[in-house]
């Protein structure tokens, strides 16, 4: 069964550093998403991406965040200058259609020290 993969599984970085979180969505899916989940809290939407551009973003997704689909398979989330409060689990997801079920990756745990 196809699945969404994410690398790395755990990323430790120092405050102020840039990080890139990588995702490989399911190959025939058209919609891509990033979410974050701060430990013990709810899953929060960050951004959705379709047709090589951002379709929606939340208030969390400020100028320090960016997304890119550099080739036909990868979908990345870049955080330019990490802050302590960026520490969270980041999930990538993809779906075939706009209102379809989203398939989530296993997540990348980001720890900012």
């Amino acid at each position: 069964e196809p699945e969404v993969t994410q690398t790395p599984s755990h990323q430790v970085t120092q405050m102020g550093q840039e990080v890139i979180l990588r995702c490989v969505p399911i190959s025939n899916h058209l919609y891509f998403y990033w979410y974050r989940q701060i430990l013990g809290q709810k899953v929060e939407f960050l951004v959705s991406f379709y047709n090589n551009e951002i379709s929606e973003k939340s208030e969390i997704f400020d100028d320090q965040f960016s997304v890119e689909r550099p080739d036909g398979s990868n979908f990345t989330l870049k955080i330019r200058s990490t802050k302590l409060e960026d520490s969270a689990m980041y999930f990538c997801a993809s779906s075939l259609i706009w209102d379809g079920e989203q398939y989530f990756g296993p997540g990348t745990r980001l720890t900012v020290t």
Binding site: V43, F45, E101, F104
Partner: protein
Amino acid sequence: AQSVAQPEDQVNVAEGNPLTVKCTYSVSGNPYLFWYVQYPNRGLQFLLKYITGDNLVKGSYGFEAEFNKSQTSFHLKKPSALVSDSALYFCAVKGNQFYFGTGTSLTVIP
């Protein structure tokens, strides 16, 4: 504004008993409603969705959910709980983005 509420942080049920995990929603227009399950150290897994049609939606692993428009609810149910159902359950509504509830931790007691 779209939102979902899961009023119970924790639900405990004995194995073999029916289980219900509650969700209420607030949305303008027709709601697109989803349930996801999260096992420890894993991503979310899709269980079921309601877009339109029959109010009783059947999903994965024997789960079902009942859409109730008058009560703006979308409760998750299963007739007979298994220990392996113990996990974190999230209700979600899709508007211009996905809004997830705060999650309900389900513990099935052997």
